[in-house]
Symmetry: C2
Subunit: 458 residues, 2 copies
Amino acid sequence: MQKLLTPELHSMRAEIITIGDELLIGQVVDTNSAWMGERLNEAGIELYQITSVHDNREHILKAIDEAFSRVDIVLTTGGLGPTKDDITKNVMCEYFNTTLIEDVRVRTHIQDLYKDRPDALNRLTATQWLVPESATILPNRVGSAPIMVFDEFKVERLKFKVNETSEAVTSDSQLSTFNIQPPKFLVALPGVPHEMKIAMTEQVLPFLRLKAKGERREARDIVHRTILVHGIPESKLAILIEDWENALPAYIHLAYLPKDGIIRLRLSSYGEATEKEVQSYIDSLLPLISDYILANEDISLEALVGRLLKQHAMTIATAESCTGGRLAAALNAQSGSSAYYMGSVVAYDNSIKEHVLGVQQDTLMQYGAVSEQTVRKMAEGVRALMHTDFAIATSGIAGPTGGTPDKPVGTVWIAWATPTATEAKCFHFGASREREQITLRAVTEALVRLVKCLKSKV
Amino acid sequence: MQKLLTPELHSMRAEIITIGDELLIGQVVDTNSAWMGERLNEAGIELYQITSVHDNREHILKAIDEAFSRVDIVLTTGGLGPTKDDITKNVMCEYFNTTLIEDVRVRTHIQDLYKDRPDALNRLTATQWLVPESATILPNRVGSAPIMVFDEFKVERLKFKVNETSEAVTSDSQLSTFNIQPPKFLVALPGVPHEMKIAMTEQVLPFLRLKAKGERREARDIVHRTILVHGIPESKLAILIEDWENALPAYIHLAYLPKDGIIRLRLSSYGEATEKEVQSYIDSLLPLISDYILANEDISLEALVGRLLKQHAMTIATAESCTGGRLAAALNAQSGSSAYYMGSVVAYDNSIKEHVLGVQQDTLMQYGAVSEQTVRKMAEGVRALMHTDFAIATSGIAGPTGGTPDKPVGTVWIAWATPTATEAKCFHFGASREREQITLRAVTEALVRLVKCLKSKV
């Protein structure tokens, strides 16, 4: 099945160019693009391609040119720091045929930003308030790198739009004064994720949404609907839903995304189907796979567990050996988790299992730390210690060392204690997996147990 | 300063094309490319560009063509699953003008792989042993997707090189029979990270290294040297080392990589300088910034802490509130961490701080959970509970809610207890940061305290 990704369908189509040697030598993982892609889709803009290039003049110039040959909107990240290795601003000046001038508003903003850090206010920082004359400057509320909007066909300088109090410009009336004309423009954003996210959220996305709204007849809705599936191999799932899949219209696309033991089944439409039509296909899919559905939406397992615990007004604690705190971290990653998450004991050493969680020395000696007996006692021990409704415990061999013929690397015991019973299950995640991968699988399976346990309470 | 990235310098230059809608709609973060980039650099191959494209025939074909216009080696990831949304294999057949045929060795391998999972062996899985006739098939020891090597200018089918026991082919003599001719070729890899990593490590990198070795006169060494710096703003650091930086030859490039409060200062050379020459510049840099150096290498803080603890034969535990288990997870992420890491208490709820860590109710009532008094008691409490030499504790307001005028979001207290004393420090990571970012900064600062503490013991 081919999707309809022909250019004429997508007047609102963007590309991202990430600029920085650190991405290409593997020193930094690009987390920005996925975040931006999700937000662009929500705003009705398809992200067509992501291109990562070196901090190199020719490379950046060529990438911009190629991107504009495919789409109208180009977003770049990176290369906007005050040090010599960052050349993005100067290269942009060259591409858009403009020069740097001092911007008093940016200067005031940076001086204010660093007023308690005189160390950070120096002649290199001062280069940050030199901005391309033809660019519209959007405020970077939390950093010194100005965010620049270039219209390929205009060289008229536009005013700095942040008001004196550094508040974000988000209202329609203010935004409409930006005066960026279709069809083509480029937004240069900082590469520091938290600066990029704030600028995107407060400045760039409102501006893009406004554009999408203004061009509604051309811009199409992008619809993605996802179902979380667990407990069935990808190929078996595909055979199970084959007739349903074959009946899908060509403009609704099905994707299988297996990761860490979960399959995300996603239906997408890029402008040809309404949300209602996509939903009707989801509705006819659900009965076919009801035994395997964890959630009828694209949600993290930890958010799902949190929501279910809140619904039941119940609390949880964890006792972790091989997962080493990652299960705790997943459970408290949500804001508001203090309503249901009480705490954890990471019992890495056996002495902690014994003295803090109350696993008997005999149990540890006779069955070992990675055993049903030990992991059950860990779950019950932390549940009693922290006075919670639920508790979950993990003990396993994450490797690469520590495996035995009986208990090879990848063996993980998980136990869950509820107000009425304690259950345990052994998993084999495979000796060929890396330490991190085995740990992630264990966290996923622990959360899946919790979801099932909590759903059965409904 | 411009780097010398002219094509003639780099006969061994590669690009990555990542294939999959999930990357462009932001459902999945591409962690593969960074991992591959690092390994390619180690093998003396520069990664010139990363391009992420849709599961779309025209898009994939165009991306391959464009990549071959810039480099000789193209690696693709993704789109090799058995379901209909994965089209990479068929598109490759089109690009390289070949057709699919059954490969008996691949079939045997897959049947063996799934012998304990009859569920996963079905007619869709059977499509996985259909392989492009002109491709060399490398074994995928842990998955069903065959790894395919295409030589742009050859259409002669080469033999499946895995032996009967599915062992990796790594010796020079075996590899040399692969008969892939320069100049241009493409390797199609699975997108599942752990399958990709095993295939790269066992199959693709040995093959590429052999090529690099055979073409040594043309292929240049790539040298990267990194120093970890902390406690100085990026711009001030740049001014401090300005004279030194200006004296660098044009073919040695300096980069500043700030992240989570650490600056990675990296010197790179792509073939013009020897490792010794790069090292001599590092040697002259070190005295200039000695007050700020955490490490004279590109190492994670948790690995550095682990090494220092091992050297001193000392143990550690953590007590965490706002970091919620992430500090524990960092400390036990290293294989062998059981030698020094004993365990942790995640004391999210105040009752856990009181009853498990022994923080007095009075202290919590009078000063609050986020206070010097509480965090000191947390550190001392977990150190006593787990009988360790060191302990570190965190308590803060990660947000987005919970801030007060006195203690705004971003306020984090960190305490470290040693055999001789307990110290504490308050950090302000800024209310504008996200919950996750504040947590990461707290983990970083806690690890920095530990490094400094452990180094002062030497």
